[in-house]
């Protein structure tokens, strides 16, 4: 450098280049100063609002400033951020600016402040306004510069009021200020419990040799706080890669602490710091009397043994206490199946139960036979646990192993295997299950019928029908109903049911027609229509009752056909028209005109006034202007006018929420019908609305 001599030149190109550079620099400076001025003027504009007398008026400028700060500290806008932080730093120390505005601006420095704001924050920290000072402390805590730490340290030296010190000590800890150890250590054994706790935590965060030493020194006096601080220090050291230092702390803590919480924390961290060294501590901890220590030991084992976990756990299993065995079974994987099967015979009942449940998670084909025996024995609670385990048992060969057990052997075991297949939703077992449904052994056939009812569909229908027709029984009927509902080809199912009616004994016809009525299919309804008009009482009676119980609107047509027949019995007419009323009310998804038509047909077909009233009330359940029109003629009927009036009031009330004009027209018609006062009063109320 010393040998270089600057020689002016007259080269025009060189001069031009230099001039441009100077010009650019001047432009940049002026731009910066302009930006700075603009920022300052924005703040000047916002400050009156930020300190407005009415706090509610402060909100909009507060949000504007907050957005400004958020935007200024976006990536790649460092000069903009610095400019804003500088301007804010100037304003927060300006005594002419009112306090609420200054507090809000300091809060923005917490978000965007850097070195340019430290002096201003220092001034506020030592100032008389406690709120400003506290806000400044928080901003300094977040400020990444070393000078911010120095300011906080100086503040700790100056002020010893406990509440204030707690904040400063905490901030120094958060910042990991190594320089603060000596001062913080003094407060470790303070009488104010919170100060000593915060000091221990702060020293733990700082985690230098001196900080750890101070914590150990305090350990003899204030063990709880110091131990908590030492755990924090160990965590910090671990995350910084100083495993050896962390290990020393943790070994001693684990050895000397008498608290289960500290011991368990130390053990878990030790497993991270020294996986191999911590292994020897795990068996003892697993057999501890403290449940938390046992849980921690299991978690520590997962860390300490890593990929060797399973072999390590298998090796230590037999040496553990029953409690220890139970805890580590939760960490077992598939490789432990053999050992867990053996544990199902452990002398300790709790271990046995835990083993059964563990098999449900990790077991496979080899566990099937044992679990079936336990479940079939039926001794609670083991049987229930084994049943649950069978339903969940993973492993590809499990289903086929269960299926093998269905074919022969102890009936209880076979029935249990059948239930297991159903619980596992093993559809491939259906051919076997449907065969078992015909088994002479009642335990097996009822288990199989339950299973077929759960899993079966179209393919099982025919055989199930045969069983129902030939053997009957509640289990078969229940299975048939569930399978009929699940069939996909409803017309084909209807044909099978109809065909079964041709050979079935009369006492089975009720079940068959009942199932036909469950099918929402044309062929089913046609068949019911025919049967319900049969001259044979033994056919007609169950068919009419089945039709009346149908849950489908598609049954309306055959129902009305039968109900309107000239030879229909009065009781059948009543049953069928009650069904019409029910279906009209419940079928919101059906177009209004079809529901209205059905109600009017029912009204016409009714042989008793009770069913006429029901039909009118069904008509009133159709919230549509067309229903209002349809009901009006009955208001003039000398016999039906009162019931029609009541139904019309209900309908008008419903319509008033969606079709006001129609509701008004209907209410007027009710008023004009010359009905009793209780009805017209309601119509008046609707008109007033």
């Amino acid at each position: 450098m010393a040998n270089r001599i600057f020689i002016p030149t007259c080269d025009p190109i060189y001069l031009m280049k230099q001039t441009s550079l100077v010009f650019a620099a001047v432009l940049l400076l002026s731009l910066c100063s302009h930006t700075g001025a603009a920022t300052e003027s924005t703040l000047d504009r916002l400050i009156p609002g930020l300190s407005a007398e009415n706090p509610q008026d402060r909100f909009a400028p507060q949000m504007e400033l907050q957005d400004l700060a958020a935007k200024a500290c976006r990536p790649g806008a460092e000069s903009e951020r610095e400019e804003l932080a500088k301007a804010l730093a100037t304003k927060v120390t300006d005594a002419t600016v009112r306090q609420p505005a200054r507090v809000w601006m300091v809060r923005q420095l917490e978000i965007c402040g850097g070195k340019e704001s430290v002096d201003a924050l220092a001034q506020l920290l030592s100032g008389p306004d406690r709120e400003l000072a506290e806000t400044a402390r928080r901003a300094l805590e977040k400020n990444p510069t070393t000078s911010a730490g120095r300011v906080l340290l100086a503040a700790l030296e100056k002020d010893d009021s406990p509440d204030w010190q707690i904040g400063i000590i905490h901030s120094l800890g958060q910042r990991k200020e190594g320089r603060a150890v000596e001062l913080i250590a003094v407060t470790l054994d303070r009488q104010e419990a919170q100060t000593s706790f915060v000091a221990a935590q702060a020293l733990g965060r700082i985690a230098t040799t001196a900080a750890v030493k101070a914590l150990w020194k305090s350990y003899g006096v204030n063990q709880a706080d110091a131990a908590a601080g030492l755990l924090v220090a160990a965590e910090e050291l671990l995350s910084d890669g100083h495993k050896g230092d962390a290990k020393k702390i943790l070994e001693r803590l684990h050895r000397e602490s008498k608290t289960a919480t500290i011991q368990s924390s130390a053990l878990i961290l030790l497993a991270k710091a020294d996986p191999k060294g911590s292994r020897k501590l795990i068996p003892t901890a697993l057999s501890s009397a403290h449940p938390k220590l046992r849980t921690a030991a299991r978690d520590a084992a997962q860390i300490a043994f890593g990929p060797d976990l399973q072999s390590a756990l298998l090796e230590m299993f037999s040496k553990l206490s029953p409690e220890g065995k139970i805890v580590i079974m939760e960490a077992f994987d598939r490789s432990a199946e053999r050992l867990v099967i053996d544990a199902c015979s452990d002398p300790n009942e709790s271990v046995r139960f835990a083993a059964i449940e563990t098999l449900g998670r990790i077991g496979g084909e080899s566990s099937v036979s044992l679990l079936l025996d336990i479940a079939a024995a039926g001794t609670p609670p083991g049987a229930l646990k084994a049943t649950t385990a069978l339903a969940r048992l993973p492993g590809s060969g499990t289903d086929t192993a269960l299926l093998r057990q269905v074919s022969s052997g102890n009936p209880k075991v076979r029935a249990t295997a059948i239930r297991g297949l159903a619980d596992r939703n093993y559809y491939a077992s259906l051919p076997v299950l449907i065969k078992c449904a015909a088994d002479p052994e009642p335990a097996i056939s009822s288990a199989a019928l339950l299973a077929v009812g759960k899993l079966g569909a179209d393919s099982e229908l025919e055989e199930l029908l045969r069983l129902t027709v030939t053997r009957g029984g509640e289990a078969a009927e229940s299975a048939l109903e569930r399978v009929v509902l699940r069939t996909t080809d409803k017309n084909a199912a209807a044909r099978k049911l109809v065909s079964a009616t041709t050979t079935a004994a009369p006492d089975r016809l009720g079940v068959l027609y009942g199932n036909l009525a469950l099918l929402d299919a044309k062929e089913a309804m046609d068949a019911l229509n025919r049967a319900a008009r049969s001259n044979d009482d033994e056919v007609r009676e169950p068919a009419v009752r089945a039709l009346a119980g149908s849950p489908h609107f598609s049954a309306i047509e055959p129902i009305l056909n039968v109900a309107a027949g000239s030879t229909v019995k009065k009781v059948h007419n009543a049953l069928l028209l009650q069904a019409v009323a029910r279906l009209v009310r419940a079928s919101d998804e059906v177009p209004p005109e079809r529901r209205i038509k059905a109600s009017l047909s029912a009204l016409k077909a009714a042989q008793r006034s009770e069913e006429q009233t029901l039909a009118l009330s069904a008509l009133a359940s159709v919230t549509d202007p067309a229903a209002a029109m349809a009901i009006q003629p009955f208001l003039r009927d000398p016999i039906l006018k009162y019931d029609a009036g009541l139904a019309a009031v209900t309908l008008a009330e419903r319509l008033s929420r969606s079709h006001k004009a129609s509701a008004r027209d209907l209410a007027r018609a009710i008023k004009q019908a010359g009905l009793p006062e209780d009805v017209t009063r309601k119509a008046d109320a609707i008109l007033r609305q």
Binding site: R74, T135, Q174, T261, E357
Partner: protein, 431 residues
């Protein structure tokens, strides 16, 4: 090594372990077998925060034979006294029998932490107290049920999760939708790939009114406002600030939560995490409303799955999962719909993924206190869900996208946004 002294609650647990089945105990062993409901074996509870949300928990606990409430705590004198009186009325028979000695009412939660005869606590305060109280409870040897969202900041969540792991505490986060059948079933359908690969998720969180800068009002007699504010910045008292209702109150203010992100978000984002199998991870990018013209706020997972907040959801549902071959819609009240419609009735087979099953969120927690198994919503899961809430909040407040590394738990390439991962606390409520 000298054998440690066993406290009452440890005795309670070790006795149970020695005599009963560890996992799934209450499901199969009648309480009478082990005298679980005997006075000395009841789980002793402390309840903190006796406001609106606690009323259900309080009633629920008072109706159970296997627990007993020993203390209540609230910064409102009237509330805590009322809760104490209610507890004493319900337990009057136990008191006469000598099974129960009475319920204490405290202003300061620390009094509950100091009591060795209390096994577990409910923490049902505003969000800004959740982490401080939960960590104190776990460090004092207690198990914890904490309302959602688990935390106020991302860093608090990591600390809580670590504390639970180290202390062996059973902590349940109150994201109770996990204990509802329809939500579990929806998640199982998604997890088992029944609607193909998920690419889009819509969820409805609603909106709170904007927070306000409120005029100062006199602090009501018997209300410890300074403690209510706790670690958050000081503001003059106004009843609207501290109100615990759903239309406004403290839930509107960023100081005490993440607004709707942490309110309904803590429920629905939680279910989305569960369904996607992301319980130990999270989304990687967060976009504010308006970014590149977007009409709705969103976040995106590493595989490209995008979650839209407040986008209309089919049939008024709360969450809608859209996959390549179908859709799953789910809401509270056991509402579950699928496209194709038959999916929702399809049973799981053993080879399918079965998710953790709980039918009662509080009951699951109490069961796990006895068995020492992990509850359905442990702190690591609660932390990951809350992280999504908070990062959405940060993106919204900074009005710029945030990129997140869920492994290192760091915001990528935005130094100043990273400052929002934790909030400095007001003295003396710093820890």
């Amino acid at each position: 090594m000298k054998r440690p002294t066993i406290k009452r609650r440890d005795f309670l647990r070790s006795t149970l372990f020695a005599t009963a089945v560890a996992p799934f105990l209450p499901s199969v062993v009648p309480p009478t077998v082990f005298g679980q409901n005997a006075p000395s074996n009841r789980i002793a509870l402390g309840l903190i925060g006796m406001g609106l949300m606690m009323s259900g928990h309080h009633r629920g606990m008072l109706g159970r034979d296997d627990v007993q409430v020993l203390a209540v705590c609230d910064v409102y004198r009237d509330r805590r006294e009322r809760a104490k009186a209610q507890t004493e009325q319900v337990y009057s028979e136990r008191k006469t029998r000598g099974d129960w000695k009475g319920c204490e009412a405290y202003n300061d939660y620390e009094r509950i932490m100091e009591r060795d005869d209390i096994d577990a606590v409910f923490i049902v305060t505003p969000d800004h107290w959740h982490a401080i109280m939960s960590i104190a409870a776990m460090r004092s040897g207690k198990d914890v049920y904490v309302q959602k969202p688990m935390t106020l900041t991302v860093r608090e969540g990591r600390a809580m999760s670590e504390a639970a792991r180290q202390t062996g505490a059973i902590l349940q986060v109150g994201s109770q939708q996990r204990s509802e059948r329809a939500f579990r079933k929806a998640c199982e359908m998604v997890r088992n790939g029944w609607i193909g690969k998920i690419h889009t998720i819509y969820t409805q969180l609603g909106e709170f009114p904007l927070p306000q800068t409120l005029p100062e009002e006199p602090v009501p007699e018997g209300f410890d406002y300074d403690r209510w504010l706790g670690p958050t910045p000081w503001y003059p008292y106004n009843a609207k600030r501290v109100l615990g209702n759903y239309g406004g109150g403290w839930r509107c203010f960023w100081e005490y939560g993440s607004r709707k992100n942490g309110d309904w978000g803590a429920h629905h984002f939680d279910i989305i995490q569960w369904a996607l199998g992301m319980d130990h991870s999270g989304a990687v990018r967060y976009f504010p409303k308006g970014f590149e013209g977007a009409k709705y706020q969103s976040h995106v997972y590493a595989d490209g799955t995008r979650v839209w907040k407040n986008h209309p959801v089919r049939d008024g549902h709360m969450i809608q999962f859209v996959g390549e071959t179908g859709e799953v819609m789910v809401s509270r009240g056991d509402r579950l719909d699928t496209i194709p419609a038959t999916l929702k009735d399809r049973p799981l087979s053993p080879s399918d993924i079965h998710l953790y099953e709980s039918s009662h969120h509080e009951g699951n927690w109490l069961e796990c206190i006895r068995t020492r198994r992990q509850p359905i919503c442990p702190p690591e899961i609660g932390h990951r869900t809350a992280t999504i809430c908070h990062l959405n909040g940060i993106a919204e407040r900074l009005n710029r996208p945030i990129q997140w590394d869920p492994v290192k738990e760091q915001i990528i390439g935005d130094e100043y946004a990273s400052r929002w991962l934790d909030r400095p606390r007001r003295t003396p409520f710093v820890i």
